[in-house]
């Protein structure tokens, strides 16, 4: 056994270099790649946002022309949602799920690698659209119909921007669905002995719920995108009103997907916060069951509210009322979470470290965002707010103030587990405060701008509107956020060079990953653990006295003895089987954007062969994958 492990470690150490990253099927490496890629896209989306803010900083801005502006906000929204928040969440799924449930890897390691490569292919493909309009003549070619691409505007849009957008989203959809299937199977099937569903950490639960939302929501947008593409490329009539088509069908389908999507974006962050708060208050999560069931309730209810994005389309009195009520009620399970988190802090021993800062930032900003959401549900006043900066403020408040803050909390919390180094606290707090202040400076003024009647998606506004000052504030805030991101990047670089090691359990953690060395070895667990309680690792460290106060267990205590017995049991199992690396997932992924490009250009440049080439590459990849003698 020991011999085998030594060999595995040696194998892993000899397995280095760029080739090893291209063929890796290790969930931790894939997680790192997801994280780094998504963060790069965040910088890109952030630069787009800064350009937008520069243009809007004063009335009659001259930085961008309307065409470039429209393309930039479309790409900003699309990038932030599909290339930043979703994959950052996926990075955490990858890094953590096997560790949290006591597994050596995900259920389908190669499918997991495939997800990542397809995501990368889709992201690059989407951004390649910038170059289609003749960028050297100063014209961007990106999509220009907004991140929800309402038909018929997205039909009449000229150039290839929308085609790239639609195919890009289709490719990204494949990546998300594959990851969704994989994580559901992993969570159901790969749990260590004793890890019952109701012992799973909340983050695992939220991953499960999110994955279910993904696999049910993605097919709907897939069909919508295909319909759009058939209309654009082959003259089909789905949204063509001249032939009797209904443009509103697009909106229904988009938001049928789109609303579950916003919970796909927020639930992982909520899971992260549910792990951070207990650790940093040295108390179990308050109302574990309620937090989980409220997550399930949110997921369930998220299917019944989509038309709140369509109040002003004239749905009729009954539909508007019904969707108003269903949307309002979604605040109830969300409230349960907020209250349970605060109750977790209450009476705890709160360790004011950076991950906790970001978690508290999450709670406070998300509550503001949620309450503005509730304002939107009041249909008649939404007639005034819809498509104004009030909406822009609402969703940045939940997406940035919520999801991004939560994800940063996770980065600070788990960074030591995967790098062996803690992020520097001083830089971290500077990062937090700059971001927190910058965030409020950017998005609170937008709330007022919305109420002052500033519509969204306008490249310019007149000077008599009274919007100048607040816009200037927002721009200043955006640059402050940018500065905070630079501080974060400095922090990462500085911290990685620190000599000081983090140790296995720097935060006095509660869940299984903290029982492993940092960084985690390739096989995760030398012995698959046997789980006896929720927050199992905490209970290995502390017993509880009669008053419910934890008492540290000295090594060799009762629990430890039991543990050894458990180990013997596990000993009788198999040795460590690690999945072997494979480059087939990468090959299979490469074919997809080639095929998509072939479809887009087949008429103008007769690239029919390109479709075939792409298809062949993908099929070869799949066959190679299927026939490869791998042990997974």
């Amino acid at each position: 056994m020991v011999e085998a492990m030594r060999k595995l470690r040696a194998d892993a150490e000899s397995y280095q270099g760029w080739w090893s990253w291209l063929t890796t099927v290790d969930h931790k490496r894939i997680g790192v790649m997801y994280g780094v890629t998504a963060f790069s896209f965040f910088l890109l989306g952030g630069v787009e946002a800064l350009l937008i803010r520069l243009q809007l900083s004063t009335s009659n801005g001259q930085v961008l022309d309307p065409d470039a502006y429209n393309r930039l906000f479309t790409m900003h929204g699309t990038t932030m949602i599909f290339l930043v928040v979703m994959p950052l969440s996926a990075a955490f799924f990858n890094l953590l799920i096997p560790l949290l449930i006591g597994a050596r890897d995900v259920a389908f390691p190669r499918l997991n690698a495939f997800s990542f490569w397809v995501f990368l292919a889709g992201g690059l493909f989407m951004n390649a659209s910038f170059f289609t309009g003749g960028i050297f003549q100063g014209k961007l070619g990106a999509p220009d119909a907004g991140w929800f691409g309402y038909a018929p505007l997205s039909l009449v849009s000229t150039g290839q921007g929308i085609d790239f957008w639609a195919f890009g989203l289709l490719i990204l959809g494949i990546a998300s669905m594959a990851a969704g299937f994989n994580f559901i199977v992993t969570i159901f099937n790969m749990r260590a002995p004793g890890m019952t569903l109701l012992r799973m950490p909340v983050f695992v639960w939220m991953t499960l719920v999110t994955s279910f939302l993904i696999i049910f929501a993605m097919p709907i947008i897939t069909v919508a995108l295909f319909e759009l593409l058939f209309d654009r490329l082959y003259g089909a009539n789905f949204f063509n009103m001249a032939a009797g088509g209904k443009p509103l069908l697009w909106q229904h389908m988009f938001w049928l997907f789109g609303h579950p999507e916003v919970y796909i974006l927020i639930l992982p962050a909520m899971g992260i916060v549910s792990e951070v708060l207990p650790t940093f208050s040295r108390k179990p999560l308050f109302g574990y069951q309620f937090v989980i069931f409220s997550g399930l309730a949110i997921a369930f209810m998220s299917w019944g509210v989509w038309a709140h994005h369509m109040y002003t389309t004239g749905l009729g009195t009954i539909a508007n009322s019904a969707f108003a009520v269903s949307t309002m009620l979604i605040a109830v399970p969300t409230g349960i979470k907020i209250f349970s988190w605060i109750a977790t802090l209450w009476g705890g021993s709160i360790n004011l470290k950076t991950p906790l800062y970001f978690s508290v930032g999450f709670i406070s900003m998300f509550v503001i965002g949620g309450l503005t959401g509730v304002m939107h549900t009041v249909v008649p006043s939404d007639y005034q707010q819809q498509d104004t900066y009030f909406v822009v403020a609402h969703f940045h408040q939940v997406l940035f103030g919520g999801a991004m803050f939560g994800l940063f909390a996770g980065i600070y919390y788990w960074f030591p587990k995967f790098t062996g180094r803690l992020l520097h606290e001083g830089w971290g707090k500077l990062h937090f405060w700059l971001m927190f202040i910058g965030f409020n400076l950017t998005f609170q003024p937008m709330m007022i701008l919305g109420l002052l009647g500033m519509p969204r998606r306008i490249y310019s506004y007149g000077s008599g509107t009274g919007w100048d000052f607040l816009n200037m504030l927002a721009t200043a805030g955006a640059f402050l956020i940018g500065l905070s991101i630079l501080v974060f990047m400095i922090n990462v670089v500085v911290s990685l060079r620190r000599k000081e090691r983090a140790g296995a359990d720097p935060w006095d953690g509660r869940t299984l990953e903290w029982s492993l060395p940092s960084p985690v070895p390739p096989y995760n667990f030398a012995e698959i653990p046997t789980v006896r309680a929720r927050d199992d690792f905490w209970h290995q460290k502390y017993a509880e006295d009669e008053e419910g106060r934890p008492v540290p267990i000295v090594a060799g205590g009762a629990y430890q003895a039991e543990e050894e017995e458990g180990e013997e049991e596990a000993e009788t199992g198999h040795g460590i089987h690690m999945p072997s690396p494979s480059f087939w997932p990468l090959i299979a992924a490469i074919g997809l954007p080639i095929m998509a490009a072939g479809f887009i250009y087949q008429e103008s440049a007769n690239l029919l062969p390109m479709i075939a080439i792409g298809a062949v590459i993908t099929i070869v990849g799949i066959y190679g994958w299927a026939l490869e003698p791998a042990s997974e």
Partner: protein, 116 residues
């Protein structure tokens, strides 16, 4: 939740390589499959027959919907083994179907069109 119940500290005993699944019964044999196939064929014949009969539209529609639902259930219950396999699978399929049905009934009724 059945899953939680089926989940103890001990792993379930290793199962044989045949198709027996946890909580599931053995699959039926060729004879039974063929019988179901015959029933399916007969129902299809009845459907097409009904199509050519001179009956009221509502009656035709209800007959066709019921018959195809029966066909659907026969295939998923026997050929896809939902009768014998883990209840989780039935839950997934039925959940997906109900979700799709619920969502699109609402969409179609707000958008109007051929259904109304």
């Amino acid at each position: 939740m059945t899953l939680a119940e089926s989940r103890g500290i001990k792993r379930p005993p290793e199962h044989e390589a045949d198709a027996r699944q946890a909580g599931g019964r053995a699959h039926p044999g060729p004879l039974e499959y063929t019988r179901i196939g015959l029933i399916l064929a007969v129902i299809t014949a009845v459907e097409v027959g009904a199509f050519y009969m001179d009956i009221a539209q509502w009656a035709l529609v209800s007959i066709l919907v019921v018959l195809s639902a029966v066909k659907f259930s026969l295939v998923v219950m026997w050929f896809m083994h939902l009768r014998f396999d883990s209840r989780l699978f039935s839950g997934l399929l039925v959940g997906g179907l109900m979700l799709a049905a619920a969502l699109f009934v609402v969409v179609l009724s707000t958008l109007g069109g051929g259904l109304t």
